[in-house]
Amino acid sequence: MATDISQPRTRAPRPSIGVVEWLRQNLFSNWWNSLISIVLLIIISQVLWGLFRWIIGSEGWIAVASNVRLILLGRYPSAEVWRPQLIVAMASLLLGLSGGIWRGIPLSLAAGFSGIMLLLGFVSFAMPASETPLPISTTLFLFGTAALGAAGIAAAWRLRDMLRWPVVAGWLLLYPVAILILHGSGGDTTIGTNLWGGLLLTLLLSVSGIVLSFPLGILLALGRRSKLPVIKWFCVGYIELIRGVPLVTLLFMASLMLPLFLPAEVRIDAVVRAIVAVTLFSAAYLAENVRGGLQSLPRGQTEAAQALGLNPVQITLLITLPQALRAVLPVLVGQFIALFKDTSLVVIIGLTDLLGAAQAIYTQPQWLGIPGGVWRETFFVVAGIYWVFTFTMSRTARKIESNLNVGR
């Protein structure tokens, strides 16, 4: 819906008060509040001071710094690092273009992404060069990506109407193209998925899970409401079966049992099996959430559409589904955030995702000399990476939500 409703946003004027007054009102309004405030301030400052001393003083960071590639890409060969770099650059350009076209949320995402890339560029610039020279210097790549994002914004700002459909097509193509690029063209240049790891694998698993489970879950939700008993009971059976078991079981089944059922010559890639398990799992939950959204709609919506002569398919696609998806958007984002974090379970079936990379790092023999090991530093960084992604997702969702609430 491209119509934007520009309304003057008048806010009640907020009385400006000084810092001291603010402190008095909010933290020290009476003796009891003051006591709590003081105790909390002491605790917080203790924690922060401890954190600060640890961050400054620890030798463990060297383990993280010398394993950046393992964290981001797993054992992806260093000569081929340009492939993921190319994809990130493409994504940055698309994000920039989207920001220029649709403004609002895409724009802040694009700006945020380019900003982070720029920041990382400076960090990388200041750091000593890595021991194995990469085809393209990391610093150059980071600055280049930031620049592409900015260029995208600028270009689309001008050519808004012309770029709209190409950009949509670009996003749709990004996923398959990314897989092709990452995997290589076959023969010698093939990079087997057994080498994919770290953040790359985590993103691959969760993006695949989200992208693939979305249509599947919607179909299951619609199927569960179908009047045809065969379809209905199949969907009910599927949903209840999957929701009744933990994801770990599905991952084990996919990795250990699937090969038993298939003929010996059919070997399915371990990553593909993990993607299948994650998708099947996520789809069942998504189906239930979407069904909840469909049920929350007043019956009058369908009746009005029927009275207008729309057929059942049109009613679903134009009336009920869009409304249901909007209604459950916050729940879906919550589900996808959970999925993003749940992909860390693939460690159990021997894949080295972000969490797996952390484990691989702190068990490296060269850090044995460091007192206390390096696991704190490693997990701190990895948790930080998880947090950046999930925080971005939930913030974006909240903004979308408040945008959708316009006119209700």
């Binding site: 409703i5 009058g300 009275a307 209700r408």
Partner: protein, 248 residues
Amino acid sequence: MSNQTTDDIIVCEGVNKWFGEFQALKDVSIRVKKGEVVVICGPSGSGKSTFIRTINRLEEHQEGRIFVDGIEMTNDIRNIDMIRREVGMVFQQFNLFPHLTVLQNVTLAPLWVRKKTRKESEAKAMELLNRVGIVEQALKYPGQLSGGQQQRVAIARALAMEPRIMLFDEPTSALDPEMVKEVLDVMKTLARGGITMLCVTHEMGFAREVADRVVFMDHGMIVEENTPDTFFTNPRHERTKLFLSQIL
């Protein structure tokens, strides 16, 4: 259909309808002529909504026959579709699509059901919105309009399909009193414009002014029908008298 004169656009013969054990319509028969405006009234739960909803198959009847513009209402989807193209409906709760703008609400069916071009449907929609007096709100969402405005959009949305028959189910009951008039005015213009109207309402002023006939229902039956004049001044049945004494 031997016994249908060409003038009758709606014919119901002995319509019976059950919800489980409960019989909501009992032997309902009525003929409505082209261009006629029929007001249906009766106490709550008497089956008024159920009755007009059988005419576009929002409710399925179990016995009796219903013909709309010569098409018999059967289980055949094609018949149902044909009839729904002839019949527009306006609901008590408006039932606008909240995720679409006013303009999109009105153009939806012409685009997807009549397969008109966007340009055509939008031109027609703007004309209709102009007619119901809310053309300035075309790009707003239903949630941004008042109840009276929403109901007028709902009328425009139904008219966009160029129906020959309009069904109204208590179109003003959910409105604040000061908005009732703006909706009734639109309906009156429509009634005088010659479209066939079946209208469940307790707005007796409206009935007096534009109805050709008033039908009184109770306990799923048509108890009495007459011209507004006779109906209000000289009701025949005790139930009708009681009902009129309660609402007038």
